[in-house]
């Protein structure tokens, strides 16, 4: 419910968006301001609604491959991963080759790094710093080149297939990935020097947007938002899937609870992703990348909920199938939606410029919220 402005009050109603640069897409936030202070912030969503769930219900399972990348343009591969894992769980005869699982994880983690780099640039852009995005896009470009080599696309990947992945990699590609991991490790201190220590940046984000543990739990926040509040919840650990149990990585958290905490967590996550990529490349087994007996027409039956850790948090696919070629019901739980729901409570009484910092620290992807 959007509050009606009260003429007796000296408040200003301000529409932030739907075409505001710092709402990262078509999100509209209705603000009630008293001077520069935000009294109430009400997100209005749905401007980019494209019925992805319904499309999933009218198309067959393969027909949904292309849609996953359109929901989250930042981390398309983890969206694909969740979808095919859900479908595969309904097909008990299907044996997914090891190599395919490794490739899924390697590409997803590369995508996560790319997504965090995109967030880093956009976050600082919101705060008024223009140059950092150019540095982060330099590195992101290297990832996209790698991913383009294997998936054929740069943004809206449709790489995951029921039963495997659609393209294999060669030795050169693996070397390229390892070279990138090294390069990225060398670059991280540069980013910290350039931005993390910067006094202007710190003043903008420290102690801004405090999300307490309870609040994060209450609103169902996931991903870096909940980990930035000190709760080590990560689907890769709490509901292990794919080959994650075989890999050694930490779940970085921060006790700060503010925007800086979420910022720190994401940087630590990039480092962990690099670790995962390195281990997965070292362990990458030989073999096929596609299961042998994938049915020509996928007729799944049953009901599954499969959660994966996307770049922004826990992503869940609920798919119910009645044995026909397309799902009976598909519901997608997206992380940004829950993360955004906290905005109203969080931003009561803060400065308008801090609101931008808070929203930036959530790493919102609006197409994912609207679906």
């Amino acid at each position: 419910m959007i509050q009606k402005p009260d003429p007796t009050q000296e408040t200003l109603v301000l529409n932030m968006g739907p075409q505001h640069p710092s709402t990262h897409g078509v999100l509209r936030v209705v603000l009630h301001c008293d001077g520069e202070y935000v009294l109430d912030a009400e997100p209005v969503i749905g401007y980019g609604h494209r019925m992805h769930e319904l499309i999933g219900e009218v198309r067959d399972h393969r027909g949904f491959y292309a849609n996953v990348g359109r929901m989250d343009y930042g981390g398309a591969l983890s969206f694909g991963h969740g979808h095919i894992l859900a479908v595969e769980r309904m097909l008990p005869d299907l044996e997914v080759p090891e190599r395919a699982e490794y490739l899924r994880v390697i590409t997803t983690e590369l995508n996560r790094v790319a997504s965090h780099l995109l967030w880093f640039g956009a976050f600082l852009l919101d705060l008024g710093a223009f140059t950092p995005i150019l540095y982060s896009f330099d590195d992101r470009e290297a990832i996209l080149d790698l991913l383009e080599h294997v998936t054929g696309a740069r943004l809206t990947f449709s790489y995951m297939r029921v039963g495997g992945v659609c393209a294999d990699v060669d030795k050169d590609w693996c070397d390229g990935v390892l070279a990138f991991v090294k390069r990225m490790r060398d670059r991280i201190p540069m980013y910290h020097k350039l931005v993390s220590g910067n006094i202007i940046f710190r003043k903008r984000v420290e102690d801004v947007g405090l999300i307490t543990r309870d609040m994060a739990l209450k609103y169902g926040c996931t991903g870096p938002v909940i980990r930035g509040s000190g709760i080590p919840y990560d689907v890769r650990r709490s509901e292990p899937y794919s080959i994650y149990p075989e890999l050694d990585f930490d779940i970085p958290t921060s006790e700060r609870c503010d925007c800086m905490g979420r910022y720190d967590v994401r940087w630590a996550e990039i480092e962990q992703s690099l670790r995962i990529i390195e281990q997965a490349i070292a362990k990458l087994p030989e073999g096929p990348v596609m299961a042998e007996k994938v049915p020509k027409v996928i007729k799944a039956k049953g009901e599954v909920y499969q959660a994966v850790e996307a770049a922004r948090g826990s992503l869940g696919y609920y798919i119910a199938c009645d044995g026909s070629t397309s799902p009976y019901r598909m519901k997608i739980r997206v992380p940004s939606y829950s993360n955004l729901s906290i905005l109203k409570e969080l931003t009561r009484g803060i400065l308008l410029s801090d609101l931008v910092a808070v929203m930036g620290s959530f790493d919102l992807v609006i197409p994912e919220i609207d679906r």
Partner: protein, 178 residues
């Protein structure tokens, strides 16, 4: 009071450190390509729109089974085929791709039983009207064969009527249609 000055000192120091990074990268060569003048080489595995594969003999491999047409989630592919009288197999007379709807999912390429279609490498695809993206792939395949120096030859099944496959009439778009 001491804290106040300490903060100023730390702040200025942090800015100087940042400046140093900027100065370091400022002296390096640019990493961006100046697009219209320079082009980045296209990666080999880039997935452009689909194209018919031209065989060495100068023909396509499509058997007009229609699998790709059915596999496409967006209905981009339209096949036209005729069955010449007396011939055993159907003949492809038109393969139209509506690239405006294609999401490059790859289902068509993966389901094709004869590997008759592949991804093209068209990276810099532009047009002034949406009709520019309704491709006649058969026509494109013939042109590609010509470029490769292969003559477009239809395999002769029956020794009669070795007719050229016809490209569809309304395909060449008129720019005025925008």
């Amino acid at each position: 009071m001491l804290n106040y000055f300490k903060e100023i000192f730390v702040g200025i120091k942090s800015l100087l450190i940042g400046m140093k990074v900027t100065a370091f990268y400022g002296t390096k060569r640019t990493i961006t390509a100046h697009y219209p003048f320079e082009k980045i080489p296209v990666t080999l595995n880039f997935r452009g729109h689909i194209d018919l594969v031209v065989t060495k003999k100068g023909y396509h491999k499509c058997i007009t089974c229609g699998m790709c047409e059915r596999a496409c989630p967006s209905g981009c592919i339209t096949l036209d085929s005729v069955k010449p009288e007396g011939a055993k197999k159907k003949k492809l007379t038109g393969y139209t791709l509506d690239f405006t709807k294609c999401s490059l999912c790859g289902n068509c390429v993966e389901t094709c039983p004869t590997n008759a279609i592949k991804y093209s490498n068209d990276y810099y695809l532009v047009g002034t009207s949406r009709h520019d993206f309704h491709f006649d792939l058969l026509d494109r395949a013939m042109k590609a064969a010509e470029e490769m120096g292969i003559e477009w030859t239809e395999p002769v099944e029956k020794p009669k009527e070795p007719k050229e496959p016809q490209a569809e009439g309304g395909e060449s778009p008129s720019p005025a249609g925008a």
